[in-house]
Symmetry: C2
Subunit: 322 residues, 2 copies
């Protein structure tokens, strides 16, 4: 628990052998740093096994095939895999997916066109069951998931309110992404900021933050409101469990609210629909995305991860290699 | 806020006029005291209008028609209405429902065959979406709603765990109602008591209590667990909002839990199915019910209500009149 420190990480060199039958050697070009990784840096029982000490941080990465012993993959192919933080990865071909990096940067498959994008799509459409007329509030709205969730809601015709952690991010939400309202959560109690930004209340809350944001969103919810709990980044570094929403019992019943946690790994069957719909919006430029690209190679990854947990990113943060 | 006091109540005498066209005069035989009434004794915005000072406490009552100016109702009919705490009520016929008091006490229509029973039915089957194999935990399980919810789950073949507030209630759950396990929540931290009573975890939590019970139930929930929040009686007399479940953010996501508040008033369309299924179980004796009948007439109602909020009842509490 507590904030990760650079001293919690170590860089190790190992030999990269030739690929065995069915394997690829991939030179990574971008590695992902994601909030969920913080959860795996703990022994607490969870959906994903804890990271093992002295093993690489698993997670998304894209790279170029430099040697292939697997049918269907050739040198020069760009692939997505989950072997995480390393410069070269020996990837079983069944765990690699070829991606088209001719029209977007390959890093987009770690963000808007990848797991964070699918998370936004599933959370908003399936878990929160977005329907006509809903007013939508997204926290962490300038992040990798939130920025996609908010824009999907806008593209489907909804009023969308976002929260973020800096004036620049708030401006990004309003001026570039077309949010109807946005606030910097440092500017006062979240429940007051939300009440001012959404005077008519909200129907859907896409929660990336937890804590005060969740309490405020329940308080601003209208009858039959739905909250999709994607993450609680405000609590990931907490050293003791923070209290839950103080208004919980009363508002959940009196307003008949539904609060539902979800993980994208249950919804990979939605990938084709997501890739078609969101892919088209990205191709047309209707859905915008920014990336926070950290330079400096693999050595820069620990600090990038720590900074991301503190909100240094706008859009998806990736670390560029090589 | 705080515990209601007898001094918050006053008895008033008024004239009962002859019924106008379309009205009935009903001599009440039983009046209902329900937890939700506590919420209406507050100005806080809620689904039901606050009680007005110097007006009667509205709520369920059954009685005998002593004068009718409405087609379809005759002297001697037993009717259910919602005009609450009074000895005689002038009831528009459209707001009265004739009930069959030949096979059960008319008071049953305030409990197992009425609103509390329907609440249990809807909460368990529709809101928590009970399905085969679910392990079910019910808090306030010896109460009007909980005792029906737990028994419905048992009759549908589930493993059922209950919590209640006294050794006698725990014995009632285990020995008379056939619960698989039950505990007295005074015997230790609820999360430990629940873990011991449900070592394999739970899938469905029917929440009548809130507070520590909700936190414990989320902690014991298995993947894709569902909580139906019916009430939070542990908080109704609280003078400040208690913290919500401390484990909220983490467990809701990692276990993909759904927490859903509900009110029976949205589900009156389920009454026919409820009356048929639960009515048959009551008629056959498969579903048992107790009532806590308070004697002493209308003067006894305030203290009965206060005692009910403190857990004095087993099953439905009603006040007998006349």
């Amino acid at each position: 628990m507590g904030e990760p420190q650079p001293s919690n990480f170590a860089l190790a060199e190992t030999e990269v052998a030739d690929p065995a039958d069915g394997e690829l050697i991939v030179r990574n070009t971008f590695m992902s740093v994601d909030p969920y990784m913080r959860g795996r840096m703990s022994d607490a029982k969870s959906y994903a096994a804890p990271y093992e000490i002295d093993h690489a941080m698993h997670g998304g990465a894209v790279g170029e095939v430099v040697a292939s012993a697997a049918e269907g993959f050739a040198e020069g192919d760009t692939v997505l895999h989950q072997l995480g933080w390393r410069e070269y990865a020996t990837v079983p071909a069944k765990d690699a997916r070829k991606v088209d990096a001719t029209r977007v940067s390959s890093s987009a498959y770690l963000g808007v066109l990848g797991m964070p994008g699918l998370t936004a799509y599933v959370g908003l459409l399936d878990i929160a069951a977005l329907k006509d007329g809903d007013i939508v509030f997204v926290s962490g709205a300038a992040g990798a998931v939130g920025s996609v969730a908010g824009q999907i809601a806008k593209l489907k015709g909804h009023t969308v309110i976002g929260s973020a952690g800096s004036p620049a991010k708030v401006a990004y939400l309003k001026d570039e992404l077309g949010f109807d309202a946005a606030f910097d959560y440092h500017d006062g109690p979240v429940h007051k900021l939300l009440r001012a930004a959404a005077p008519d209340g909200i129907d859907v809350y896409f929660d990336n933050v937890g804590g005060d944001h969740l309490e405020a969103a329940l308080g601003s919810s209208r009858l039959f409101g739905r909250t999709a709990v994607c993450g609680s980044i405000s609590t990931y570094n907490a050293t003791e469990l923070p209290p839950g929403p103080r208004n919980f019992g009363n508002v959940v019943v009196s307003k008949r609210l539904t609060v539902r946690g979800f993980l994208v790994l249950d919804s990979f069957d939605r990938f084709p629909a997501f890739a078609q719909e969101v892919g088209a919006w990205v191709a047309s430029g209707e859905l915008k995305f920014r990336e926070t690209v950290v330079e400096g190679g693999i050595e820069a990854a620990p600090q990038a991860f720590i900074d991301m947990l503190n909100g240094a990113n706008t859009g998806k943060m990736v670390v560029r290699l090589g």
